[in-house]
């Protein structure tokens, strides 16, 4: 290994290790109930972001100076069974896709970390927020740099868990918790699709390394090492995974629900990074999209529908964060269209620009509302609101329908509840009742003590 390789290895390891160390410290502190002060947590977070960002900049500078476009960082096998050719390879890749996404993650995490220090000052869940934030940061770094499909899945899972827990951050209220559960449910289904796609790719190509999947060239010039039909199957599963993670149609229902979390988490997760992770996945595996025209058309169609729905829904919301969330969906839809059209650099630039802008908008949203309030109080009337000029040209019935469609958030949650959740509950509720009938008849008496559980046993004053 020459001097340059050693430098790359050291810097790359620092990029990955920094968020992992932050997570270990905050996780250990939570486990042993070690009460770190707010200032310490904040400093640790900022240091972790900095020690991840600076080595990444160092790698970028060296790559630009030397003209190297692809830097793999090998950390060896995490698990290996050589006889069966099974290995879980810890490989991270710095290339034209991962470096911008990594830097974006670091910068936005840094900004939001600094903002949160004041926003959640003396909040009871301050430590909890930063623990979840560390899980998220770690997940984003792993996802951005993953050189194998398995490593990408690990990062993807960490991001999903932290997002769901942060939506439910305000524990005392039921709504955020219910919404966190909804987010998690959608994520689990999309994760299942991703895992099946990953295993299928592993099965087809014999390895999970992206280098093996894209048989020639580094991003964005790879060619898929699988046939068109296989690409269609795998790509369809990846599309479901990306749709779930990026709240594309028909999974958009979780996005406004995610706004129940603290504003900084809304800004960073659902406005900027997490919501782009599906698009990042499609970008990373874009050679697979190129292998099938049908798949490309599916991607474009999904993007168009999501963008259109997002545009309609964002205009009629009565909550600024929800409105911004749907505006994000519009942009993500357009980014997906760009990916489907093969405009990869444009999509990447669009992600970066949109993520930065949306973070700032969401962070500014609460103070903007206060400013508007003050302004309206001072002028004694509402500020003039200009309607979209194009709306007037539509027939009244279409306008009404669009309004209803947008206001009811595209009926997506209703449809999921009606067509998936309710039949599921009815089917397994029926099995549950059947089991009870069988056990009752064998026992010749009511066989379920659990039926007598009070719905509110937390009334503990009387418990001995």
């Amino acid at each position: 290994m020459n001097y340059l390789d050693t430098t790359f290895q050291a810097l790359g390891t620092a990029v990955v290790a920094s968020p992992a160390i932050l997570l270990a410290i905050l996780g250990l502190a939570a486990l042993v109930n070690w009460q770190l002060s707010e200032a310490t947590i904040s400093r640790l977070t900022q240091a972790a972001v900095l020690f991840s960002l600076l080595p990444a900049i160092g790698i970028l500078v060296i790559m630009l100076a030397t003209g190297i476009r692809y830097v793999p960082i090998e950390l060896g096998n995490w698990v290996s069974i050589p006889e069966q050719e099974f290995h879980f390879h810890l490989k991270f890749v710095f290339d034209r896709l991962s470096i911008p996404f990594l830097m974006l993650s670091c910068v936005l995490c840094g900004v939001v970390g600094a903002f949160t220090r004041r926003y959640l000052h003396r909040e009871e869940g301050y430590r909890r927020f930063f623990l979840y934030y560390a899980v998220f940061f770690c997940g984003m770094v792993l996802s951005s740099l993953a050189g194998t499909i398995e490593a990408l899945f690990v990062g993807w899972e960490l991001v999903g868990l932290s997002s769901a827990l942060l939506v439910a951050y305000f524990h005392e209220r039921v709504n955020p918790v219910r919404n966190g559960q909804r987010v998690w449910s959608i994520y689990r289904l999309s994760d299942a699709a991703f895992l099946i796609a990953a295993l299928m790719m592993h099965h087809l190509s014999g390895e999970g390394d992206f280098g093996g999947l894209m048989s020639s060239g580094v991003w964005p010039e790879g060619t898929a090492a699988i046939s068109s039909t296989e690409a269609l199957w795998v790509g369809s599963l990846l599309l479901v995974a990306a749709a779930g993670k990026s709240a594309l149609f028909p999974f958009s229902g979780w996005l406004p629900r995610a706004m129940e979390g603290p504003t900084p988490s809304s800004a960073i997760f659902y406005g900027a990074l997490s919501v782009h992770l599906g698009a990042f996945l499609l970008l990373r595996l874009s050679p697979i999209l190129d292998a099938s025209l049908t798949l490309q058309l599916m991607v474009i169609a999904l993007g168009v529908v999501s963008a259109a729905c997002g545009a309609v829904m964002s205009r009629v919301q009565n909550d600024i964060k929800v409105s911004l969330a749907y505006a994000s969906l519009t942009q993500v839809g357009i980014i997906v269209v760009e990916i489907g059209l093969g405009l990869r650099y444009l999509a990447l630039i669009h992600i970066i620009g949109h993520a930065c802008m949306r973070t700032m908008q969401l962070l500014r949203a609460p103070t903007l509302l206060r400013d508007y309030n003050e302004l309206e109080n001072k002028i004694g009337t509402r500020l003039p609101h200009q309607a979209w000029a194009g709306a007037a040209s539509l027939p009244a019935s279409v306008q009404r329908w669009c309004y209803r469609f947008g206001y009811d958030r595209g009926f997506m949650d209703l449809a999921l509840d009606k067509w998936i959740v309710r039949p599921f509950l009815q089917t397994f509720g029926w099995f549950d009742r059947l089991e009870r009938r069988i056990t009752d008849s064998i026992s010749h008496e009511p066989s379920r003590e659990s039926d007598r559980v009070e719905p509110h046993p937390e009334d503990l004053q009387n418990v001995a």
Binding site: F86, H171, E172, R188, I442, S450, E454, E458
Partner: protein, 485 residues
């Protein structure tokens, strides 16, 4: 056969047995719980010593240095091998943490004497290779829960019915096998009876009702101890796997798969925590069986890793629920209880163990789940897909349970809700193992792979399965070639 340097196996079986006698002599003294914890601790230390000794020998199997019971049994009755070497400390740990997490106020309801007898029987079962003794131990292990149900004056009909059928199938099946001349029809019927027995004990759908009934009527601790060591899976490994034809294993795999998805879905619709836990355990333990019946080294390795993971994580999950139940009575999942502020440590542990049980990254279950799915996809792609769906359903259930128990409006209580020192120690031990096994999985995986290889070889050398294994291998190679093309 190589010998251990100390009679670890027999001493570890006898210590809880004599411990039960000691507890009986102590009567209802206040210190009885501490004594039980000490006995379980010594037993765990002995099983760990056995594991260390066995690893240092470097053999596939070994028996005790000198046998106390040589005059009573034949020499090779208690043998430790690569399969059981890890199961023994795991089983001892499950008993230790369950006893440790028993509140003193609840000790009179949870029979420590029967628990120690059960521990002795479970350790003897996991150490036993002789088929008739194994069958006797499997049947004997069903008695302590029955005695508890009787003492609690609960209806035992469902439990007795299932366990009686289990015992009958085992005895008839093995007697038939012993007296058959090895002709295919007779051996097949005997194998089918043994398979049905093993499936019944594992709680495979639709023979799982005894499990939900046990969780309803027995103490939570007893139900956890009777189900989480996965004795049914061990019966499959010892009695069914070496002789069952491939089609029989495929049938078990399909049933296990149905159970995994059914259990995951049923867990999601439950309104009470014990039942939810029961179905979650059913789903995850069925995944272990799915892997066992793939009979490929990767699938078997995944199943054996999952076995350890399920034992550790679901025991942790179960004892956390039990700790909560001990304080607020049965836990409804209809409403939000808001317990996070009062029990922060248990809330974190609940989430950790729950996530570990579904194979979340950086926990002990992750690599096992990956290997299992990888093995399943290699043989039957649809099986891999169903495993992923079952895991997804269980994942949704785990977070749902976490939210229901720990979030919501906080209520002030008169009851101390924080974790007691013994509970804290139990939690920390399991946390270290769950995270340690997740972050440094290679040693565990390598050892499980050796065990899987040995089991595959054992199946290949068995005249009843030799031909089918050969056919399966040819078929797998053909599938592989077809995929490559």
């Amino acid at each position: 056969m190589p010998e251990l340097h100390f009679p670890w196996i027999e001493v570890s079986i006898l210590v809880p047995l004599f411990g039960a006698l000691w507890i009986h002599l102590l009567g209802n003294r206040e210190s009885v719980l501490q004594h039980a914890i000490a006995i379980c601790g010594v037993t765990l230390a002995l099983t760990v010593g056995e594991l260390v000794d066995f690893v240092s020998i470097g053999s596939f199997e070994a028996h005790d240095h000198w046998l106390f019971l040589d005059w009573l049994f034949q020499r090779d009755i208690f043998v430790v091998d690569e399969l059981s070497a890890f199961q023994l400390p795991l089983a001892a740990l499950i008993f230790l943490v369950t006893v440790m997490s028993t509140l003193r106020t609840k000790a009179p309801r949870f029979s420590l004497k029967l628990t120690l007898i059960s521990e002795s029987l479970v350790l003897a079962t996991f150490s036993c290779r002789s088929s008739w003794t194994l069958i006797a131990l499997l049947i004997a292990a069903t008695i302590p829960p029955y005695l508890e149900l009787r003492s609690r004056q609960r209806c035992t009909r469902i439990y007795v019915l299932h366990m009686a059928v289990f015992a009958l199938l085992l005895v008839v099946g093995f007697a038939w096998l012993s007296h058959s001349d090895g002709s295919s029809t007779q051996a097949l019927i005997a194998g089918a009876l043994l398979t049905a027995a093993a499936l019944l004990r594992s709680g495979i759908f639709p023979l799982h009702l005894w499990m939900t009934d046990l969780f309803e009527k027995a103490t939570f601790g007893t139900a956890i101890l009777f189900t989480t060591p996965l004795v049914g899976a061990y019966a499959v490994m010892r009695l069914v796997l070496p002789m069952a034809p491939s089609w029989a294993l495929q049938s078990i795999a399909v049933l296990s798969l149905v159970t995994a998805v059914y259990g995951g879905a049923m867990a999601l619709v439950q309104r009470e925590a014990r039942r939810m836990f029961c179905y979650l355990l059913l789903s995850q333990s069925s995944l272990v069986l799915v892997g066992l019946e793939l009979v490929t080294p990767i699938g078997l390795t995944g199943a054996l890793c999952m076995w350890l993971s399920v034992g550790l994580s679901l025991t942790g999950f179960g004892i956390t629920l039990r700790c909560i139940e001990a304080r607020i009575s049965r836990v409804s999942l209809v409403d939000y209880h808001g317990l996070a502020r009062q029990m922060p440590m248990l809330s974190g542990f609940f989430l950790l163990t729950g996530l570990a049980s579904i194979g979340f990254p950086a926990t002990v279950g992750f690599v096992g789940m990956e290997l299992l799915i990888e093995g399943a996809v290699d043989v039957y792609p649809l099986v891999g897909t169903m495993v992923v769906i079952a895991a997804a359903l269980c994942g949704i259930t785990v977070l749902m349970a976490y939210f229901r128990v720990f979030t919501g409006h906080h209520n002030r209580t008169l009851v101390p809700m924080h974790a007691r020192p013994a509970e804290r120690v139990a939690v920390l031990i399991l946390t270290l193992l769950i995270l340690g096994g997740g972050l440094v999985p290679q040693p565990g995986v390598a050892s499980r792979y050796h065990a899987a290889e040995a089991l595959t070889r054992q199946r290949q050398t068995n005249p009843m399965t030799e031909q089918q294994v050969g056919e399966l291998e040819i078929e797998t190679v053909a599938i592989g070639k077809h995929s490559a093309e």
